[in-house]
Amino acid sequence: MNRHPARAQLRGIRSLTLALATWWIVVLPAQVVHGQISPGDLAQPHAGLEGITNCTKCHELGRGPSPGKCLSCHANVKQRIDQQRGFHHTAMQGDDAQCGDCHADHAGRDFALIRWPGGEAAFDHTRAGFDLQGRHARLQCRDCHRAELIHDNLRSAQRDIDLDRTYLGLPRDCLGCHQDEHRQQLSINCTECHGAESWKPTTGFDHDRTAFRLTGTHEPVQCAGCHPALAVSQAEGAGHTSYAQYIGLRYENCSSCHKDPHRERFGGNCRSCHDTGGWKRITTAEVDHARTDFPLLGRHAHVPCKDCHTSGSYLQPVAFALCTDCHRDQHRGQFALRTDGGMCESCHSVQGFKPATFGMAEHAQTKFALVAAHSAQSCLACHEPTLSDDLGPYRRYTFEDRRCVACHDDTHHAQFASDPVKVCTDCHGGDSWRVRDFDHDRRTTYPLEGAHQKVACQACHKPTVTDGDSFVTYRAVGRRCESCHEGTTPPRLVKTKG
């Protein structure tokens, strides 16, 4: 067998294989050398760093990716770290902190370049220096991190930044994201009044801190009730129709907001009569009722207005000429025949219905002057509520029968009714019921003689019981001796029971 052709063939194949291997090892890498010693394509924002000559722009030889290298490009992040603010300041705490912990690259062009530990939704936003409170916590990241909201400082500091991807540059102040609904009328620090949960209610706002403190019925009034809506400028575009006016409002006088129903008849100072407790609640103490025809004197000064102004309108005339225009005649017209016509003020004053000013002197002018024991009695002892009508019982002040028996019981059981002596005072004094200086000889038909003069009245006038009622007998005493004496010597008086 001729081996020379075989060797030549073998040499040819070896040469071909070596050429193939050379191409494999040199030419092919040369074709893909642009960045192809890397473990994978860089993400799109870093695409410009592809290439074998760019490795050390991110990697420190022998040490790996370096935060310093990253921050040499990401100057805005470095600035925030140096200023000790923002998330990267907290994230880069510690010696082993690496940008790549969150921003690992070489995962392909489409990689978003952010790896959220635990997921994007689990990000602790407080580490970014902005605690997501209230409704903010329920928003999606890109609801706020939008290109149009990013601060101009970031745009100018890093012109090549992808505003649709970055999480930097968002203003921390409310107006950085929210429109100023008050159009610069109020403080730019919205949180002074508004909470993070909702625009309304304004939990932090206290109207008392303003020049117009809300009191009384002003408190429940909706803001719009006092703060009118102003039209927005057309420049603001659709979706904004009006805003509330908060400055420039006149509030010195009530009439700035309220109409004067009195048509200035009481002057312009509403507060002289009214306060914020309500239109119908009049601050009586401050109303100068003396300016009316009915100055409030005595107890009238303490009566609620509505007790007299029952119609609810203070413009409605109230009759006041007579007390009875307001007050009920407690005496039911018993004094109408009096010369003064029964004027209340003859006996009463505005200091109160009681006590009446009707004293002893006045009583003396009546047909029944009070003397002796009567002057010591309470009025009510005689003027009892013995009368009544639909309104109830009332006291009697006029008496047709002014005899004693009209008021007092006849304890003698009418023994003297047929006598010429019919007036109690013939026997009894005015100061007491006790009988004094009774002239038995003159006033009776049985003069007392002899030993009879020394006998006590009760020895002859003994109590008698009739129908269970006991009274002293004065008329039916027998005139005969044995009517009282027994037939003995010396005579003795007959003892009677009772």
């Binding site: 073998l10 294989t17 893909v32 010693i37 994978g40 490795c55 022998g62 790996g64 990716p65 392909g108």
Partner: protein, 289 residues
């Protein structure tokens, strides 16, 4: 010594493949992610990315195995310290390194292929696949118990010995002899067609002795089963030797060419692997140390 070695190799294969299968199973979800999504799977990414705890470790072990492949050619060149053990066992270990190493490195890549290092990977895979063909060529060269190739004279003597055994000890009849003589088949001049026949014969090699045994049993029904099996086995051995003897020159030439293909790609793989390691170290990649 043969059985302990086979047991050791069995353990090594089981260990290698079960390790690879375990991590492949664990990281299956991660490997299925798009590249851009992988870093988002934080914990899996830390473990199974090429530079991760597991991924990097698999790369180091697999790379070490790839380097260990060069122990076999070193043994062939009888370098100092490597003059022990039979070549066949060195080859067996070489094949284990050549299969297990690329499997582990495949896991190390996290199925992310790109850049220069991918040339190393695909070169390595080319070497591995060519290794399977080389192992087939290797099997086509008759070898002694130590793995050394037999000379033509040794082959002829072995063929003659088997023929004598068949004719003498096995006392084959003329009908059986006709079957055994035809078993080796016809081989023409070495060429594509001949290689095709050899390949077809080798593919059916596991059932050919059984088919021969059935034919022998058909012409000699009274022959004991053990005798049929012995005749079939020896006939098969003799046929293989005859065919390999016939193709020896052609196989040796192809084997020479195979080396020309197998080795350069192995060098390419290793050189770029070292480049990859150097770049990784330069760029600050570290494992647990």
């Amino acid at each position: 010594m043969r059985y302990p070695f086979r047991a050791i190799m069995t353990v090594l294969y089981v260990a290698g493949f079960s390790t690879a299968a375990y991590f492949a199973w664990q990281a299956a979800g991660y490997y299925g992610l798009a590249l851009a999504e992988r870093p988002l799977a934080t914990e899996m990414h830390k473990l199974y990315k090429p530079g991760g705890l597991v991924g990097h470790g698999l790369g180091i072990v697999g790379g070490t195995m790839v380097l260990a492949l060069f122990l076999y050619p070193a043994r062939k060149r009888r370098l100092p310290g490597l003059r022990w053990g039979t070549m066949s066992r060195w080859l067996t270990v070489h094949i284990w390194f050549g299969i297990t190493g690329p499997v582990l490195i495949t896991l190390h890549t996290a199925l992310k292929f790109g850049g220069i290092v991918s040339i190393s990977y695909f070169s390595m895979m080319a070497v591995m696949l060519s290794g399977f063909f080389g192992r087939y060529l290797y099997s086509m060269i008759p070898r002694g118990p130590g793995g050394d190739a037999l000379s033509r004279k040794q082959i002829d003597e072995l063929v003659a010995h088997l023929g004598e055994t068949l004719a003498g000890r096995d006392q084959t009849t003329s009908e059986i002899a006709r079957l055994t003589d035809r078993y080796a088949g016809q081989l023409g001049q070495p060429g594509i067609i001949t290689w095709g026949r050899i390949l077809a014969f080798d593919l059916t090699r596991p059932i050919r002795p059984w088919l021969l045994g059935r034919s022998i049993h058909r012409v000699a029904p009274d022959l004991p089963r053990t005798a049929v099996q012995k005749i079939s086995k020896r006939t098969h051995q003799r046929a293989m030797l005859v065919r390999r003897r016939r193709m020896l020159d052609s196989v040796n030439r192809v084997f020479d060419l195979w080396h020309v293909v197998h080795k350069p790609f192995a060098y390419v793989a290793v050189i770029i692997m070292f480049l990859h390691i150097a770049v990784a170290l330069l760029m600050g990649s570290r494992w647990v140390f």
